[in-house]
Every structure is written in C-alpha cells, then in structure tokens.
C-alpha cells in the first residue's frame, strides 16, 4: 500500500467573502508515486486546487495535509520543497536570464551550496534533454523548451510531487508531445507523484486515476477508461471529448460493436480487428 501524500479534507475556498465559492467541500487523496489527472472546464476550480496544494492560497474551511503536515502560513516553505509546480505560461515563470540561472533560482532560494547546484543543474537539464542550452537566453527558446526548463528547475529541488497546472495549454502540438515525453522519461528515473491539471481529456489517458471537477465540486473520481465511458455527461459539463471517443460513439451508432472503451487510436484499432474477425 502506497503512503498518503496529499490529503484534502472538506476543503472550501473563495477569493473574497462577496464572491461565490470556488471550491465546495472537496475531499480527496493522492498517494506516493501516483499519477493523477484533475480535469475540468474553465472556472471549475481545478487551478485553485493546485494553488492550495503548495500554499499559494489557503482554504477558508477544511484542511490540507502534505505528508501529514497541515498547510499553514508557517509550514509553506517546508511544503514548497516537496510540492513542485509548473504553470501555464512558459514565459511568465522563467526567472533567470539564462537556462542555467533559471534552474538555479529555486536552489538559490533554498541556500543550496554552489557545487551542489552545478551538479544538479547538469543532472536535471539532461533529464529533460536541455543540457545543450545551458547558457541560452529564454527568448531564444520555444515554448516547449521553456516548459522543459521549468520542469528541470522543479526537479532540481527533489520534490515528492510535480504539479503540471495546464503546463501544455499554451504549446503547439509539437511542444505538447515534447513535454509528455519528458515527463514519461522523468518518471522512469525519479520517484515522484504527478498531478496533471488540464481541460483536455486527451491528456488524462496516461493517468492512473482521474478527478473530474465541476462547479467547484468533485464530480467524479475514476480510471480514465471509466471516465471515457461517461462521455455524454462529460459533454454536458463542458468538456471536450477526444476524437477517438467520438469516433467510437459514431461507430457504435453505425452498428459496429466495440467492447472495450478505447483510450487511443491503437486500442480502437485493436478493438475493430477483434470485432471484424468475429464477424
């Protein structure tokens, strides 16, 4: 049994008292080395969840625990060591004047000695495949490359959980693939939980568990396959259903039997093969 890493206990949040609740009585848990996707349309409260996890915001009601430690004003600096975050805009989170300065920024904040910094910069940049750009300035990098640097700078402080808050939303398809490949290779080398926050159902496919948010509440919590099966309801709460799910819908309507809920093109193809050979 994996240990509990993050726990939300009846968390409610609103920005000010006049504004409506952004989160209403949310409770869920995230375990060590788990890959979870949090999905919801704009304004469903999914980004707020991310900001609550490392003390950028504090809950109005309820409590959040990271490794059993409650997130409070006093504990945030400890907690931010364990919870790394990559944000949406590649440009607005690049602090350093060069790639290596940016990776160093988080470590400088934590007073890590220089020799150790140099070593970790090398390690993390090669983990994300950006070692060749050590001295490059941010305006010479593509969006995908900047996000890879952002991932490296989070990894450099050895977090226990990496939160990607819509980290691929502003990237082109190539950049998106880059990030997904980077994350896969990082997961192989490092022991860490991954929380992907997205509005794109396509990105949840790789997760072990999906938390669907709607109107500040947890709408559902299930495996990607179970979630994909509920596509009619997903459409109702404003989520774009991926092409493959739509295609299998159309095929079902046309009388083709599809037994397993396919998550990607390969699975759909296999399913069609099987149903074809049965005919």
């Amino acid at each position: 049994m994996r240990g509990k890493l993050i726990e939300f206990r009846n968390v409610s949040f609103r920005y000010t008292e006049e504004l409506p609740w952004v989160l209403k009585d949310c409770s869920f848990e995230i375990y060590e080395n788990e890959e979870v996707a949090i999905i919801g349309h704009n304004g469903s409260g999914k980004s707020t969840v991310a900001k609550l996890m490392n003390g950028l915001l504090f809950p109005e009601e309820g409590a959040i625990f990271i490794n059993g430690q409650q997130v409070t004003q006093e504990s945030i600096w400890e907690i931010r060591k364990d919870v790394g975050m990559v944000f949406q805009n590649p440009d607005n989170q690049f602090v350093g004047t060069t790639v290596q300065d940016d990776v160093a920024f988080g470590m400088e904040n934590r007073g890590i000695p220089r020799a150790e910094m140099v070593k970790r910069i090398d390690d993390t940049l090669s983990a994300v495949g950006m070692l060749d750009y050590l001295m490059t300035e941010p305006h010479k990098l593509s969006g995908g490359q900047k996000q890879r640097v952002a991932i490296a700078s989070v990894l450099a402080i050895f977090p226990q959980v990496l939160i990607l808050d819509e980290a691929t939303a502003m990237l082109d398809p190539k950049g998106r693939t880059e990030i997904m490949e980077t994350i896969t290779s990082v997961q192989e080398k490092h022991q860490l939980s991954l929380i992907t926050i997205t509005h794109d159902l396509q990105e949840v496919v790789r997760a072990e568990r999906v938390i669907v948010m709607n109107e500040g509440e947890i709408w559902d919590e299930a495996t990607p396959r179970e979630i994909f099966a509920k596509r009619a309801e997903l459409r109702k709460i404003g989520l774009d259903v991926p092409f493959i799910a739509n295609l299998s819908d159309a095929l079902l309507k046309a009388g083709v039997s599809i037994t397993n809920e396919p998550l990607n093109q390969r699975e759909l193809l296999e399913d069609l093969w099987i149903s074809h050979s049965r005919m």
């Binding site: 490392n54 060591k81 805009n89 440009d91 690049f94 602090v95 988080g106 470590m107 000695p113 910069i121």
Partner: protein, 267 residues
Amino acid sequence: MSNSLIIGQYVPGKSVIHRLDPRTKIIIIFFFVFIVFFANSVLSYGVLTAFALASMFTTRIPMYYIIKGLTPVWFLIVFTFLLHLIVTKEGSVLIEFLGFKIYSGALIQGFAISMRFFLLILVTSLLTLTTTPIEITDAIENILHPLKKMKFPVHELALMMSISLRFIPTLMQETEKISRAQASRGVDFRTGPLKERVKAVVPLLVPLFVSAFKRAEDLAMAMEARGYQGGEGRTKLRELKIEKRDIFIYILFVFVVAGLFFTRNWS
C-alpha cells in the same frame, strides 16, 4: 530580429578584458573617471590616453562597434571644444576672425576638456562593450553589499535589474506582435503628421501594459512557488572571483596613476 537581439552594447569576445571580474572593471573605471580630472599636462594626458587606447586594443572589439558607441557623444565633444574656443580668454591672441579673437589658452583648454570627455566616454563604453548586463548587475550587487547594513535593499535592487533584463526581449517581441496586430486592424504607425503617429502608439501601449501586469502577477506567483522569500539565506550560482589577471590589472593601474601624478605639471 529576435535572434540577433543583444541587450545593451555587449560584444561577445574572449579577450583578457572580457574575462576580467566585472568588479575590477567597474572599480578601475570609477577611479579612472576621477583621475582624468587631475591631468593637466600634455604628458599626463598622454599617459591616460595610452592606458585607454591600450585597453581598447586589448578587447579586440572591431573599431566599428567602438565608433558606433561613441557616435551620440561626438557632437558633445565637438560642442565643448567650440564653446571653450569662444568663451575662454587666456594667453595670446592667435587668430582674429570676423571680430572673434581666438586665444592660445582657449585652444589648449578646449583640447584638454574635450580630451577628458573623449577618454571618459571611451573607457566607460569599454565596460558595456565587454561586460554583459547581468555581470554588471552582479558586480553592483556585490560592491553595494556593505550598504545592506544601512537597510538599503541591495538584493532586491539587483533582482529587479536582472528581471528587467530578462524581460526586455520578451516585451520587445510582444511589442512587435501587438504592432502587427494593430497594423492589420488599420492603425498606421509610419505615415501621417506627428500628432497622428503619437496617437497611434496608444493602441500599442495599452495592450502592452495590460500584458506586462499580467506577466508580473504570474511571475510573482511562480517565484513564490519556487521558494523565493527574499535575499535572506540565499546562495548564488553566478559567482565572482578575483583571478591573477585582476590583480595584474590593479597593479598596472596603480602604475598608470603613479605615472599620471609624476607627469603632472610637466610641460
């Protein structure tokens, strides 16, 4: 445009002057600016000019860049020279021209002052030509460090400078994007009377400011998420180190100063 963009005037190179500790360069230039005013004889000017020219040739920066760096101040140098020529009335009259008398003292004075000007500009532009802005920032932070005891926000100032340097190209790219977007909507930046052109800048500046504020907010959040809590207890990746070459330059400079004071009042 974006790929060739260099902030400031920095010309990359590998000369000794490029590799000097930025603090060494700043300190030497600081003192040079002072001692320039002590020169009062032809020979003492000669010593300073020799030092400045020798530094200039050591940088191996193409003359083109140095002249380009000096262009805006040529006018000032010539203007001071002419001003002194007209105003100063010392020594014997050299030429009388349309009622103007040009004195020998004026010629010497004009020469001396514009020479000082020239030397100051040349040496300071060598600093910006051979040092990246971020190195200058680091050096300033380091030199001002003692002021921290007087509650002067040295670290914050340096961080502000380095963040501005980092965002200059980003904001320039954005300006270009917005101006294209506005031009495609019919805003004319290039033709028409001056008043109209100034007005056309408004639809450029407003979106630029809006996005700059948004960026600032995002950046603040990203910095906080990455554990930024002020300068206290921070370590630094970029470190400044005094090497043998720095010490050599300091010694050389002491000789230049000695040479200057030795040649003062020599005529």
